[in-house]
Amino acid sequence: MSNKLLKVNIHKELNEFDLDVDFELKNGCLGILGPSGCGKSMTLKSIAGIVDPDNGIVSLTTGEKTVYFDSDKKINLKPQKRNVGYLFQNYALFPNMTVEENVGIGLPNNDENVVSEMIRRFHLEGLEKRYPRQLSGGQQQRVALARIMAYGPDVILLDEPFSAMDTVLKEQLRRELANFLNKFSGFSVLVTHDRDEAFQFCDELIILDKGKIIAKGKTVDLFENPGKVEVARLTGCKNISKIEIIDDYHVKSLDWDVTFEVSEKVSPNIAYIGIRAHDIYPGQKDDVNALDASNSSKLEMPFEWQITLTNGLLWKLDKQMREHEFEIPKYLKVDPKNILLLEE
């Protein structure tokens, strides 16, 4: 394991912006989180060789080093030679081939043993002779994975694997895929706009916005200390406000018109604060960072209350399904250590 490395450092001019992505992955799953059209898919396609970057390097080391792409040395391996598996958003199963044929198509001599092993491993028994259009969304995804695994790739690239799916199906398939990736010994790169998916699948994370990496690190670190406004927003922080610095440990929120005490010294480049909707608690009038909650409006969800204060702050509170009554407390409070200090 120790010698493995996936190295990507690419630059490509796109219509709306330039794409610059640079990372090294030693093992496991890397996530690329960003809004639609930030260049996520283009990055995956550059690794697979479907798209050529303008310049840079893509290389893979597993035992020996294989250079996929190197603009200086004029190396550009064909996708066929890269040994990379690509899970497309719509799975890209060949509609004119049966499940069996789809799974076997990448094998040099259509090895039946491998095909039947993959059929078994991905629970596709009995579906061998069906065509993709006769399968459910979940079965299609399993066929696509079986097809990739039959080919035995070193790297698996996953392009928004759940974005076009019913909610009911999504959660189950996420667990299936997470289990599968845990067992996979190669590299994987997952592209998504969904913070839950990024959190669930990826040990490391890159946050991409308009083609540029705005943050990069361990997934849990980025979720806990986003550091930048856009990162906080993408990792699901619902309350973000511009601030005015009052002193080293106090800031005034301009959007909510409240002054907060914070636990870290505020450096001058901090321009925003963020408060996660789950990090607000009932409190008393004289608590530190108390918030007046009178006249708040509440919205019931199956497993949470969403309470919007008159100044716009959102508070989320877990509830049980059978609870339908909830008295909003008069005051709420925010622990100073739960206030995220954010740069522009």
Partner: protein
């Protein structure tokens, strides 16, 4: 209808020309799609589409220039094979191919473009050769559009009149195809014979469709 030769000539011309048009059209369409430079793509597309935009007699005129006795290709054939293309049977094939080619090319290209490009990329990342991708993925999934393009091209080749008249003339028993024969019979006032030929053309067209 005493003269069966137009039927025979038309059948031979249409069959040979569709054979050429079909495969050349497919390959050119595939080639054009793979070109990444947009301006070259547009120029080539324009050239290949020209024969359906220009009037048939104008196309015939240009063909006569190229394949005529003094034209570059016509001269080559006369010098090396002592064969005069213009106003011979092969000229009907040349005219039919040139006039039906754009229909085949455009239909094939349209059908290819409707195939999800992810399928092609999936094939590539699975290690399939470009040739295998072309036949097993692109061709197989574009088949309905390709066939309908082939039928259109066949019908056009069968019915070609203007360019054939210019390049091959209207020589009974040699270059007089069915559409020519209809024209000639009507011009000669034999509406009855012309009608017989019309029936034959409509019949062949319907079989093809």
């Amino acid at each position: 209808m005493d003269d069966w030769s137009p039927i025979l000539i038309s059948m031979k011309t249409a069959s040979l020309s569709i054979l050429i048009t079909f495969f050349v059209g497919l390959i050119v369409a595939w080639g054009i799609i793979k070109i990444k430079n947009d301006s070259i793509k547009i120029v080539l597309d324009g050239i290949f589409t020209l024969p359906i935009v220009l009037p048939p007699t104008v196309v015939g005129f240009f063909l006569l220039y190229i394949f005529g006795v003094r034209g570059p290709i016509g001269k080559f054939f006369i010098d090396f094979f002592a064969f005069k293309i213009a106003f011979s049977w092969p000229a009907t094939v040349v005219a039919a191919v040139v006039m039906s080619f754009p229909l085949m090319y455009r239909s094939a290209r349209g059908a290819f473009e409707q195939v999800d490009s992810n399928l092609l990329d999936a094939g590539r990342t699975l290690g399939m050769s470009e040739w295998k991708i072309f036949w097993k993925v692109l061709f197989a999934n574009a088949l309905p559009g390709i066939i309908s393009g082939g039928i259109l091209a066949y019908a056009r080749g069968l019915g070609e009149f203007g360019a054939t008249a210019m390049l091959a003339g209207n020589i009974a028993g040699q270059t007089r195809t069915l559409p020519m024969a209809v024209y000639s019979e009507v011009a000669a006032g034999n509406m009855g014979t012309a009608f017989d030929y019309v029936i034959v053309i409509v019949f062949i067209s319907f079989i093809a469709i």
